[in-house]
């Protein structure tokens, strides 16, 4: 499904209909599970993809279900000020970032990723190990992966990432650079990528 960038840096699902989403969200908020299933069908790809990149493919199914259950529980708070897709996406990011650990340990985890990500960035990679981006993301330490996905894939700024992950913008920039340096070793160079 194609996506389009928006001003806030958050991509929206291009094929979802805002009016249809709004009507289904209102019906679901009144208890209509069939309407909610339609919302699920329209947005599950976007949410599952986000989940798989932030928490990993192994946890993506469970995380996606958790996001949709949490969204169902909070539907009465959806005021239509943003599109349903954007609202769901933001809720999803918060759920995903909250899954791994308590806030108190998040900063420590991201900072402690530094040595690991440094090894990734410098370790030589054999040509036959080169892989697609999603597979390469799985190899990154968790904190670096979060920063990379939020910044380079999802379009968040370092300031927004700093707030979400409760780290400084300097830490966000440092992690992003190391994640990119690691990923470049896994990817086919320009012109040779399938």
């Amino acid at each position: 499904m194609s996506v389009a960038p928006v001003a806030a840096g958050i991509r929206l699902v291009a094929q979802s209909s805002p009016d249809g989403d709004r009507a289904d969200a209102a019906a679901a908020a009144a208890g209509d599970s069939a309407a909610y299933e339609r919302l699920y069908r329209r947005h599950v790809g976007r949410i599952w993809t986000l989940a798989s990149r932030i928490v990993g493919a192994d946890e993506a199914d469970d995380a996606t279900q958790e996001i949709f259950v949490r969204a169902w529980q909070k539907l009465d708070r959806f005021r239509g000020e943003s599109s349903f897709g954007t609202w769901l996406y933001r809720l999803g990011v918060n759920v995903l970032l909250g899954r791994r650990s308590a806030d108190a340990t998040r900063h420590a985890r991201i900072v402690s990723d530094e040595p690991a990500i440094a090894r990734h960035a410098t370790a030589p990679v054999r040509v036959d190990l080169r892989m697609d981006m999603d597979a390469a993301l799985e190899r990154l330490p968790h904190g670096a992966r979060q920063v990379f996905v939020l910044h380079d894939v999802e379009g968040y700024t370092h300031e927004e990432i700093g707030e979400l992950l409760e780290v400084t913008t300097g830490t966000s920039k440092s992690q992003l650079h190391r994640a990119r340096m690691a990923l470049r070793t896994y990817l086919e160079p320009d012109g040779r990528h399938a």
Binding site: M1, S2, V3, V13, A29, A30, G31, D32, S33, A34, Y36, E37, Y40, R41, V44, G45, R46, W48, T49, S52, R53, A60, D61, T64, Q65, F68, V69, W72, Q73, L75, D76, M133, D134, F148, D152, V153, K173, S174, L176, H177, R180, M181, L183, R184, L187, P189, D190, H193
Partner: protein
Amino acid sequence: MAAMHEWTEMLSEYVDSGLEPASRQALEAHLAACDDCRATVADLQHVVRHAAALPERQPPRDLWAGIAERIAADRTMQSPARHVAGRAIAPGRIGRVFRFTASQLAVAASALILVTATAVWLLAARSGGAPAPVAEAEAPGLRFASTGVDASGVVLTAAVVQARYAEPIAALEQALAEARGHLDPETIAVVEQSLATVDTALEEARAALEADPGSRFLSRHFENTMQRKVELLRSASRLPLRT
């Protein structure tokens, strides 16, 4: 000249156009002379382009069944919107919007007791008598202890509880309706306001029980709320009539 590592650290910000002009100019001067850094910049740009173009994917299996199951389980302690807003909800739809935990219902029950007790006291004062305790507030044909279960220990459904109280409540409501024309407006206002509060609590209690029909707590809560209504109606029916 800055060390190679220092330049390398700046390359991502350069790719993101995040460097201050002076730093950018210094780095570009370095890049003009450094093949390694130019290659790294190209690699980083490749990674960024690649990330921005990543396609959306679909889950390997349909996840809806698990979501639907968890949503259905979430109906516990929820009150369908139809009971609160008076809107019709088609059969099969899952009630939600207003949810109550056991502790929230306990708080609501306490508030209801306060409201009805105050109303009963006011009405008793107007009638010149002492209010009857709740346990004695029995309308004709009402002989049920508020246990939430039947003689066999089976939790009462909302329909059973409603059926038990339907007749005595109807009798008391009929009596109140007949006396209405003989009560002063202030008294009627107290009665109507209190009944509205009790009816709202009844709707919520019934919805919660319907969502979780096996809950003895909710069944007893619904019964207790019914008895509050009986108590209120009974006090109102004792009011002296104007001649």
